[in-house]
């Protein structure tokens, strides 16, 4: 029996292979299955949304019936297209639902990420659950509450103004003499209502549920092992698949002998370049995979994890302008010193490695194809996006494709539409109709076929005026993308250019990357903030100013960033540097992403002989507007700090000749228990922005640069490449 706080997966638990088609369900309303409130007189409820207007907001449904179903027993089933990827999305959306409807939090059953029954959603990424989705979601729910109040008013013969709602019961204010529950109002009736005016949502001052730290709804099922991830959903007759992979990228099969694998009990399916083994147990299929003999043909590839950087600079002629202020020509004139008439500019190059998402759950899909209909249980952040992608690639009518995202074991941008995993599973299912096919990527496959954070090279030229401020700033980024490239600071003459993006393997200039790239927590921002903030630190040293003070002097135009920086410094107990480096091992960095501002102050210890860095303490202050769930928000900041430490110290994908050298966690190192510093997340309370802004990613922007600057302060070496491995630090110390 699920606990009070567990989530009811009515669609999967009841459905399995049967379809709980919401359209059909809605048609049968009036048979005591619960109220359908149709807020528009314009015709039958349409779950498919209107096409998105160019430049307009995403087409989230406005009709609250797309989100809510009031059950006869008083429980509320709440349908959202979002997915619980680990950051507590389920809980925060349930809080919003409880708040707007005035129902008890524990009376809500969330149904998430099922394209068959949930309203359209763009995907759970981009730190957008609060930033964007909440607005539409809550507005629709507020409408629903207004409709229910109207119905209650008629039922009780009391004007709406004299009514209040608590725990799903509408009663008369002050007397409570008369009352009626949402459930009673809902009993077996089909009501058609039309509400013209938009209904205001609750304001922070009146919040009863939002703004509070509540226990995660999924916590109990996660600690008991009852919670089901994609590989845990069991269906009779499921077969297990593994794809026969080329040992290197771009390899095409020349000849293949699957005889031994077939004798070991596996079936072989083939569709052009896709060859897969199918069997009764996943470990038996894996064993059989080793028995496959194949010859591969591929183009030689001379790129490796070192030569990639020079390779990226070859695309300079394709750079586009990201932004500009003043002019570089004017900037040259204000730069203080000149050697032989030329301005003395600080020119530096920065490099950041490819990184892997490294979720503990690898890509997992269960696909079932029968009678022209495809159902895909996918560990994905973007069920609707995957539905579109699979429909179009496999030429299926989208009406016949249903994607269900269960709870997923980590996303971080890697389980969106940039991956090939879901499409592959769908193809396999179509080759074996009538059987559910489960495919779980091995760790090696997951690393190789990840949509990696792209490697990047950044060039900065900058110069100080006589007054010791930055007067000239030229920024060029290759590979990473634009976000975070433009400086936060008041530089009068600056120019930012970019070529290459994380956005898609196919959007990049041909040949830029040898393998798939995509969004990785804080896309482009991690690389760009590293370059910007390490450069800023060096400029502070040149100017003879404390690094924090130097930053403050350039933030007159950005009050929110100033506030975050000052808050972080205060929380840390920061004392200005007597000289740089001070030997104390303290570093500062600012950062921004999606209108959220962050500042990290880090303290490190560096072992000079081994080059190992121990991060002792990180204070990360963030202005993310209104904080909906303080505990949830704090945990996102902490999560970003730990992620940032991996980027700073260890994470890089090494490859050569199309092969990945890193194939598991032995060499692709992610932060361990012993790496976690003392962490202090500071959530700015007095943000001038009244609405919630994104928080899942922005805090990561400032972490690696703060650590890099702390390393400089500790041992006087300026690291300009991520990750700052012990070998690289040792080498820099030797050189310096």
């Amino acid at each position: 029996m699920p606990s009070e706080n567990s989530t009811l997966w009515t669609n999967v638990a009841n459905g399995g292979l049967g379809e709980t088609n919401r359209r059909d369900f809605l048609k049968t309303t009036g048979t005591g299955m619960g109220l359908l409130l149709v807020c528009s007189a314009a015709g039958p409820l349409v779950l498919k949304t209107a096409a998105q207007e160019p430049g307009g907001p995403p087409p989230f449904p406005k009709d609250f019936n797309a989100y809510i179903h009031v059950q006869p027993n008083g429980r509320i089933t709440c349908y959202v297209g979002k997915v619980e990827i680990g950051a507590g999305e389920e809980t925060s959306l349930a809080q919003a639902c409880a708040e707007e409807l005035d129902v008890a939090l524990h009376s809500i059953d969330m149904v998430m990420g099922d394209t068959g029954v949930c309203p359209w959603d763009m995907g759970t990424f981009g730190s957008l659950t609060f930033n964007l989705y909440h607005k539409f979601f809550r507005a629709a729910l507020a409408q629903g509450r207004a409709v229910l109040l109207q119905m209650a008013s008629e039922n009780l013969h009391v004007p709406v103004e004299k009514l209040q709602v608590a725990d799903g019961v509408v009663s008369v204010v002050d007397t409570r003499s008369k009352s009626i529950s949402y459930a009673k109002l809902a009993e077996g009736k089909l009501v058609v209502r039309h509400i013209e005016a938009s209904v205001p949502t609750k304001t922070p001052a009146n919040f009863k549920v939002m703004g509070k730290s509540v226990m995660r709804l999924d916590a109990i099922d996660k600690v008991t092992g009852n919670l089901k991830y994609a590989a845990d959903h069991r269906m009779p007759g499921t077969l297990y698949a593994r794809v026969v992979r080329a040992p290197a990228f771009g390899g095409k099969v020349k000849s293949i002998d699957t005889g031994a694998a077939e004798r070991a009990g596996c079936k072989v399916v083939r569709d052009g370049d896709l060859v897969a083994l199918i069997g009764d147990k996943p470990d038996l299929v894996e064993k059989a995979l080793a028995l496959v003999k194949a010859e591969w043909q591929r183009e030689p590839d001379r790129l490796d994890d070192e030569t990639i950087y020079a390779h990226l600079t070859k695309y300079e002629s394709q750079m586009h302008l990201v932004g500009e202020k003043g002019s570089l020509a004017a900037g040259e004139k204000v730069v203080a010193t000149a050697l032989e008439g030329k301005p003395d500019l600080l020119e530096r190059t920065y490099k950041t490695a490819y990184a892997y998402h490294a979720f503990i759950e690898t890509h997992t899909n269960v696909a079932y194809f029968q009678d022209g209909k495809l159902t895909l249980w996918a560990a994905t952040q973007a069920p609707f996006g995957i539905k579109d992608r699979v429909s179009s690639a496999l030429k299926l009518d989208p009406k016949n494709v249903r994607v269900i995202a269960p709870y997923i074991g980590g996303g971080f941008g890697g389980k969106g539409t940039n991956t090939t995993a879901n499409l592959e599973a769908a193809r396999l299912a179509m080759l074996i109709p009538g059987k559910p096919i489960q495919i779980v990527w091995s760790r090696a496959e997951d690393i190789m076929y990840d949509s990696h954070r792209p490697a990047a090279l950044i060039k900065i030229r900058s110069g100080l005026t006589k007054q010791g401020k930055v007067g000239y700033y030229e920024y060029k980024v290759f590979g990473a993308g634009d976000w975070g490239a433009e400086t936060l600071y008041d530089f009068p003459h600056q120019r930012t250019s970019s070529v290459g993006t994380w956005e898609s393997y196919r959007k990049n200039p041909p040949g830029m990357h040898s393998f798939n790239v995509g969004p990785w927590r804080g896309p482009a921002t991690v690389s760009n903030t590293f370059a910007n903030e390490v450069q800023m630190d060096e400029l502070a040293v040149l100017a003879g100013v404390d690094p924090a003070e130097f930053r403050l002097r350039h933030l007159d135009g950005n009050k929110r960033m100033r506030n975050v920086l000052e808050t972080a410094l205060q929380q840390f107990g920061y004392k200005p540097f007597p000289k740089s480096p001070s030997g104390r091992g303290i570093g500062v960095s600012c950062g921004y992403l999606y209108n959220t501002y962050t500042c990290s102050v880090a303290e490190v210890e560096v072992d000079k002989s081994s080059g190992e860095v121990k991060v002792l303490r990180v204070v990360n202050a963030v202005d993310c507007g209104f904080v909906v769930n303080p505990l949830g928000a704090t945990m996102q900041v902490e999560s970003c700090i730990i992620f940032g430490i991996g980027t700073a110290l260890s994470e890089q994908v090494r490859f050569g000749e199309g092969k990945f050298i890193d194939t598991n966690f032995d060499s692709y190192e992610i932060p361990r228990f012993s790496w976690v510093p003392k962490m202090e997340a500071v959530l700015i309370k007095d943000s001038p922005v009244p609405s919630p802004l994104g928080l899942g990613e922005p805090p990561i922007a400032s972490v690696a640069p703060a650590i890099a600057n702390a390393v400089y302060d500790a041992v006087g070496v300026r690291m300009r490449q991520l990750p700052m491995t012990p070998e690289r630090i040792q080498a820099a110390i030797k050189q310096g």
Binding site: I85, G86, A87, G88, M215, R216, D218, A219, I220, K222, V223, T224, G225, N226, L227, K228, Y229, A231, D232, R234, K281, P282, D283, L284, A358, F359, I360, E361, T362, Y407, I408, G409, G410, F412, V440, S442, R443, L631, M635, E638, S639, C640, I641, I642, F643, N664, F665, D666, I670, P671, R672, F673, S674, V676, M679
Partner: protein, 158 residues
Amino acid sequence: MQQQISFTLNRESVSVTVDGERCLLWVLRYDLGLTGTKFGCGEGLCGACTVIVGKEAVRSCKTPVKEVAGKQVMTIEGLSKDGKLHPLQEAFVKHTALQCGYCTPGMIMTAYALLQKNPHPTRAQAIDFMDSNLCRCGTQHRILDAIQDAGGTLKGSA
């Protein structure tokens, strides 16, 4: 080579007829239907597959099932009794020591083994014992708070 392997699983006797070389993780998940134990890396590097054999934390992805013949195996499903959460599970909930939850069963079983050996671990001892378990979401410090709370060594308020 098929053989009959009998062992105690979550306090009940079970018997499977399988190739004894197959690893315990797969037999648990796919032959016995217990999906609480997770696949993470297949090479014993991440700890998501951790179960208890006897009193030890064991990586089931690297343990041939024939090695548990006659032994007492406990998985995450066996930790709570009669619907009541084990103190470790309660501590994980109390300290919100989880986000995506995928590493959680492995973390809890490893922590269980720690508390069997060392019922009142210091922070440093807990870090040392847990260090080969991986969490990508970044809840390690909360997991340590939960372990120390369950072990009665958590200082101050959580």
